[in-house]
Amino acid sequence: MIPERKETNQHLSDNLFLPLENSSYHAETIAKPSISYWKDAWMRLSKNKLSMAGLVMLILLVLMAIFGPLLTPYSYDHQVLTEGNLPPSSEHWFGTDNLGRDMFTRTWNGARISLFVGFMAAIIDFIIGVAYGGFSGYKGGRTDNFMMRIIEILYGLPYLLMVILLMVVMGPGLFTIIIALTVTGWVGMARIVRGQVLQLKNAEHVLASRTFGASAGRVIRKNLLPNTMGPIIVQMTLTVPTAIFAEAFLSFLGLGVQAPVASWGVMANDGLSVILSGHWWRLFFPAFFISLTMFAFNVLGDGLQDALDPKLRK
């Protein structure tokens, strides 16, 4: 039975039924302004103080690597034998080495080399890893199986041992270091990209794109890669310090870049031999900046890992 409706509002006047003002109308909507993935990641990253400190340090390091050697009147290989092993002073801010070369200029010149090695290794790893992992994951089936077998074997090779062997064969030098680091280094990236592509390739937007006749290359470029960028970027930020460490390690074994060019690893190695004679600045500055760079990349990588994880998005 339908209860009888009481006519309670019959005496309400029409002016109560005017449209609401625009602002109060929208106040009812339950939504925050739409934020893109990258904006959100940046907001989360900027809340992480340690990571931001790492980012600022890195920007400063890169700027100093570019402009540092220009701040002094000396060049990195200019020898003044009478001014060898001078402690830091107003003339030589980081002191001089045994051949009288200005340590400040050499340190920032070394920064160029170390950072170059780090960034190049990361970029080449990225290119090979994305191409290999993307193709393998996208193709799937037998191709994927075969390509992953190769990866498994390469993954079992001891990384630094293989790098050392390659350096012995190719001879020391800047470009051989980069080649040696990337020949075995891209495997990690390929695994990550392949895993992501496998997860994504049956998602609706990919299927839609394929239904419209997009080629494999286009699907990988437009649909798959943008969605895998998070883990890729994290992996790249962690590759750079690994490469810088490996370069220092190789230089330490005498397999690094050759004189008069000096990377931080070479300088640290030179500095080690004189540490007992009290020329602390010859070890301190390269060692400090290697550690600072690795620290900055590591904390930035940690922060990015949290910031780019879609599961942690609020």
Binding site: E152, I153, G156, L157, P158, Y159, L160, L161, M162, I164, L165, L166, V168, V169, G195, L198, P241, F245, A248, F249, F252, L253, G254, L255, A268, L272, I275, L276, W280, L283, A287, I290, S291, L292, M294, F295, N298, V299
Partner: protein, 309 residues
């Protein structure tokens, strides 16, 4: 389980064979014969030397000879130090390196786990921040720099420890610490994050509700589960300690295998480089295998016969 072990053993042999092959052909790709720089050798002596090391044969015959001698665990002779074989070098160097490696792994594991637990129990507290800053610094400072700092401060300035060589337990402390810092930092970070996760589980809450003390909860319930991720990276850590030992042995003048390897590289003594590389690789692959098997035994959730993604 048995099938999985068999598969893994087969894969190990394949990987090892690939390493041997790569190493062999890389070393033979280097231009020139090892005897080229030798002065005062007549043509005949040179030819005899090359014949002695089978260097006059085609590469593939040499390869076959090398594989055959490896199968009998013979790494061949050293070219530069003709009185010693590579086997003797490994026999002399490996025990020393193993002692150094095991000591630093024990230091790294114990202190890393303790640090990680402390940080997790005081999550976001002062101890947590201190421990994690310490850990990030431990990862960032390369081990050869750590070693130098230790020598400079503890051996030269304060004279607490001897500077170098390998004679007594006192000599072992500094190199072991220098080698342990990196792995310790990695273990501490991993233990912390997995411990935080485990401490939020329901069974930990139940244990707490029963009135167990924090110490009991950690020891009886949390630690076991929190350590599983740590076990997975043990293989990688062993690899890190192993490569790290090259530089540490060089800095502290320790007569381990790393010293022979580095000398081999500096002298371009190819049989030594090949032999030590193959030995190191075989050792590492064995370690990874053992870690995987141990993981499967410790974690009943892992089914070894299934290939994981």
């Amino acid at each position: 389980m048995a099938k999985y072990v068999m598969n893994r053993l087969f894969a190990m042999v394949i990987t090892l064979w690939i390493i041997v092959t790569i190493t062999f052909f890389l070393m033979h790709a280097v231009p020139g014969s090892p005897f080229n720089q030798e002065r005062n050798t007549s043509e005949a002596v040179q030819q005899n030397l090359e014949a002695h090391y089978h260097l006059n044969e085609p590469v593939f015959i040499q390869y076959a000879i090398y594989i055959k001698s490896l199968a009998t665990l013979d790494f061949g002779p050293s070219i530069k130090q003709s009185s010693t074989s590579v086997n003797e070098m490994i026999g002399r160097g490996f025990p020393v390196s193993a002692e150094l490696g095991i000591t630093s792994l024990i230091i790294a594991i114990i202190s890393g786990i303790v640090l990680g637990i402390m940080a997790a129990l005081r999550h976001n507290g002062a101890i947590d921040y201190m421990a994690m800053t310490f850990a990030v610094i431990g990862i960032s400072v390369p081990n050869f720099i750590m070693a130098t700092l230790l020598i400079q401060q503890l051996a030269v300035t304060w004279e607490i420890f001897p500077v170098a060589t390998w004679a007594s337990p006192m000599h072992m402390i500094l190199p072991s610490i220098a080698l342990a810092t990196g792995p310790m930092a990695i273990i501490a970070r991993l233990t912390r994050s997995s411990m935080i996760e485990v401490l939020n589980q329901d069974y930990v809450m139940t244990a707490r509700a029963k009135g167990m003390t924090t110490f009991q909860i950690v020891m009886k319930h949390a630690l076991r589960n929190a350590l599983l991720p740590v076990i997975t990276i043990l293989g990688t850590l062993v690899a890190g300690v192993l490569t790290g030992s090259f530089v540490i042995e060089k800095i502290f003048a320790i007569p381990g295998m790393g010293k022979y390897f580095i000398n081999g590289i500096n002298d371009r003594d190819y049989p030594v480089i090949m032999g030590t590389t193959v030995f190191y690789s075989a050792f590492l692959i064995m370690m990874l295998f053992i870690v995987d098997i141990a993981y499967g035994i410790l974690d009943p959730r892992i089914k070894l016969h299934k290939r994981g993604e």
